[in-house]
Point group: C2
Chain length 265, copies 2
């Protein structure tokens, strides 16, 4: 199933543009889970169970699994298997290397781990993208303008984020999306004008300080076809650190879903 | 032991500025190894054994291990353990994310995998570097100007590679090096002038078409203290695909070591 077909299915079926970030942090999860043999997996399983009918997609941040060694990678694999197959899974790896190396990464992410999409760092240029394009049913969210403060160092200096946005548009919205930080209201409008049909993955609301109202007034393509995924991670999965963490995550997901939908009616 | 101390030790003891890239590719290795339970590890073990007295450092490209799944990651871990502890190990991951995520990556690379250095993608700016700086004995090679053709898309457009180089110099040569592609003779001179004391990790000679003569006349800091690591991967480890692959790799390493040293006398 193509990434776009999954996206269309979940956004309709779940009436949701929420991308739930599964970035489980041992220090923030309920203490009783730490006694289990694989706390990350136990945590994710309950979160997925309680939210799977409310999300448009899941995004798994590779770093949070890798830092737990082999048991982290096992939790990652089990979580990918556990998510219903019609829900798009984005692996957040911000990968970018020469073509020869990207061939290996693509094999790992799409053939071995079997995710639907990855995040990509475009610094090294089009060579990064060429081996990815071979995977016609997969999707690549390219960093365009990030949510962090030091985006001013390079991305917002000169025309870099605009140059990248133009390339993303050229590579084509069928396979290429953009990561666009919610903390940049002014730039959101500009990148949407440069990439009119591109699917935006938007982190940065909540803990990072971005405003949903800014996002919805500047970044959506149209009310009928907004072409956005609004990501939230910590703010949803680690809102509550007691035994009710999963139902709390479900409530928070629903709140965000409803808040987004208010702007679309 | 600090990264710089390891670098000083091996460059003197082995009289070598060769960084050997351990990017083992199943399709290019001797067929008889494929029958073993972990071909990547068997291959690396022999290559390390035959080259360990001739290199300044090893660079392991994460993608080539990840694409083989868990057995690949096992081979990566075993290779890191097998390399003598005074030889610097660089994990080539080209990582770059917000601080919150970099904390997790740093934990994975430096506490779990225990490598001495990583490669870093600076697109998201200084936030990427801040959590790394906490690891005082570790070292970070930041992409400055890469060896691939599409470096023209962004790095060579406008002043980006110069802006990045100035930041690397500012972050300080004690912890920050630069990845500088051998295929850019003109820019090598410029980046050296912008980063006079920085350790350069230089890929791109051999298969990628960069010339050693260009590198040695433009990129070294001084004859006494060249501050370079010249990387070669495929050209050394996959030169021969028969049972003599390890002795062939040793010969090729020696050839490169001698060729580099000719320019330093």
């Amino acid at each position: 199933m193509y990434f776009w077909d999954k996206y269309r299915k979940t956004t309709k079926l779940h009436n949701s543009y929420v991308c739930l970030g599964l970035d489980p942090n041992l220090e923030l999860m309920p203490k009783y889970l730490l006694k289990k043999s694989n706390p990350l997996w136990e945590f994710n399983k309950e979160i997925i169970e309680s939210t799977k009918s409310k999300v448009a997609a899941y995004k798994l941040n590779y770093a949070f699994y890798l830092s737990c060694g082999l048991s982290g990678l096992e939790a990652l694999g089990k979580s990918i298997d556990y998510i219903p197959s019609y829900i798009p899974i984005i692996l957040d790896v911000k990968v970018g290397d020469i073509a020869n190396t990207m061939v290996q990464y693509a094999k790992a992410y799409f053939e071995y781990m079997k995710v639907d999409a990855i995040t990509v760092n475009p610094l090294m240029g089009e060579d990064v993208m060429t081996p990815l394009m071979e995977y016609k049913d997969k999707f690549f969210f390219v960093l365009s303008i990030t949510s962090n403060r030091s985006a001013v160092d390079f991305l917002k200096k000169g025309s870099l984020y605009k140059d990248i946005s133009q390339k993303i548009d050229k590579w084509g919205y069928l396979q290429f999306g953009a990561v666009v930080g919610a903390t940049n209201p002014k730039e959101l409008k500009i990148v949407r004008s440069l990439m009119p049909n591109t699917l935006f993955l938007i982190p940065g609301i909540g803990k990072q300080g971005g405003s949903l109202s800014d996002v919805m007034s500047n970044a959506i393509a149209s009310n009928n076809n907004p072409s956005v995924l609004i990501n939230s991670s910590r703010g949803i999965i680690h809102k509550c650190d007691s035994e009710e963490f999963a139902s709390s995550a479900a409530e928070e997901t629903e709140k965000l879903r409803n808040a987004i939908n208010m702007y679309l009616n």
